[in-house]
Symmetry: D2
Subunit: 143 residues, 4 copies
């Protein structure tokens, strides 16, 4: 069982991640060490050429990593990204983005997560990201 459910993560976004919640981002499924998040398409996400801009993909990837980490350690809100890397593969057409994240390593102090992003309806991934999260010591974990 994951230590945070999709509903709980969506509630956390509504309360604490306005940049994600206001854009309509939501968790669809969370497992133990995995998460699937969706970013519904809005015109706000566009860039020249009529494709979806990089930062929309970065934001979705980062939130997905957060969900993956919390699925393993519970609602430790102060877990924070320490590094983030993304490769853009194809320019996404104006459509919903879907992100699938999975844990690569969970340590006591660091977690490493991988995320693959798709544009809904397309087979090839549009981006691939990895990131590291710093997990605070127990004493700091009261949220």
């Amino acid at each position: 069982m994951p230590r945070i459910t999709a509903d709980e993560f969506n509630a956390l976004m509504a309360e604490d991640l306005p940049w994600a919640h206001q854009g309509g981002m939501r968790a669809e499924r969370i497992g133990r060490g995995t998460a699937v998040l969706r970013q519904p398409y809005t015109e706000r996400m566009l860039r020249p050429g009529g494709t979806v801009a990089g930062p929309a993909m970065m934001a979705l990837a980062d939130a997905t990593m957060y969900a993956v980490v919390l699925s393993l350690i519970g609602k430790v809100k102060l877990a924070v990204t320490t590094s983030f890397n993304i490769n853009f593969l194809y320019r996404p057409s104006p459509a919903d983005l879907l992100a699938e994240g999975q844990i690569l390593k969970l340590g006591k102090r660091l977690a490493v997560v991988e995320v693959t992003l798709h544009s809904e309806g397309h087979g090839e991934p549009v981006a691939h990201a990895t990131g590291t999260y710093s997990i605070p010591p127990k004493a700091e974990q009261k949220s």
Copy 2:
């Protein structure tokens, strides 16, 4: 002389980068291979702990890289990020973010850019990013 001015880049954001423009992002200075952009603080940028979220920094860094590239090649809107890496150094307090970008390499097909982000009023940088941009062949460069 840069091949795009701060005013021209701000007009481009207003027209073509809604995610940047609607949040109030603006270019303050653009030189030849350099750019300074500001992201005014809004509550939308927050994350748990009351600090500014990673994606707000990523978006500002990415737009700054775009400005640096266009300062050298002109208004080639289809230049696109191919990879992006960011290290988070300090959690930014709720304040404007300032990004300083500079070119590391301009090739015929790829440009590499470095960006340092500060939280206004703080000496230490809050994040450091690098990214590569793919420059389209001449034939594709009509914007």
Copy 3:
């Protein structure tokens, strides 16, 4: 069918990649868009703590990416790494390293590759890397 076989890639390493060949690195399997390379353990690879050093993993990952790219475009020796990112997951014990690479995207000008590294005999991966390769225009591709 891959456009370079494991034997051909090993011959290329013997001729053109002395840093890989002299350390005993070899391709075990190459498919279309995939490659498995092995770095036999030597004491030269150690770091303090008696584990295998990061650069040994980086070198194996980079050679594996090269094999993956050549499996798709043939013996285009001047394909070069343009960016490379690696996350270290577990400290590898003194044992052979095995790298599995797979293509994430093959474009006309850029290829993106993912590599997972294992320490032989251990289930968990020790590192995960991604990289981009620049593919030279046809005119430059005589090797």
Copy 4:
């Protein structure tokens, strides 16, 4: 004053980093939070096209980051790289490589370091790397 000198770091490489020492790598200068390392040119470093291979640059960048971290925390041998990113800018001609590293952030648990690499005799940098190091808790720091 740095907490490790260039001589002390060279002795550490001779004892504990055979992959660096055997190739002739050496520290030229270490300051507080800065380090300059040199990799003398050898044919072992070549790749197709007669330029210096990526892994030679990665190894030098990684050792330089280690020197920068130890310049601030002393001879804590078990500080380890957790993530590493490098952008290749120009193909280095067959010549010595020089790396200049500087600290971006020193935290209690993580350090972030930036390294710029030059090919001796050339003005433009050949590569730019960033990396994060995990600093072990005090109890583990006996080397």
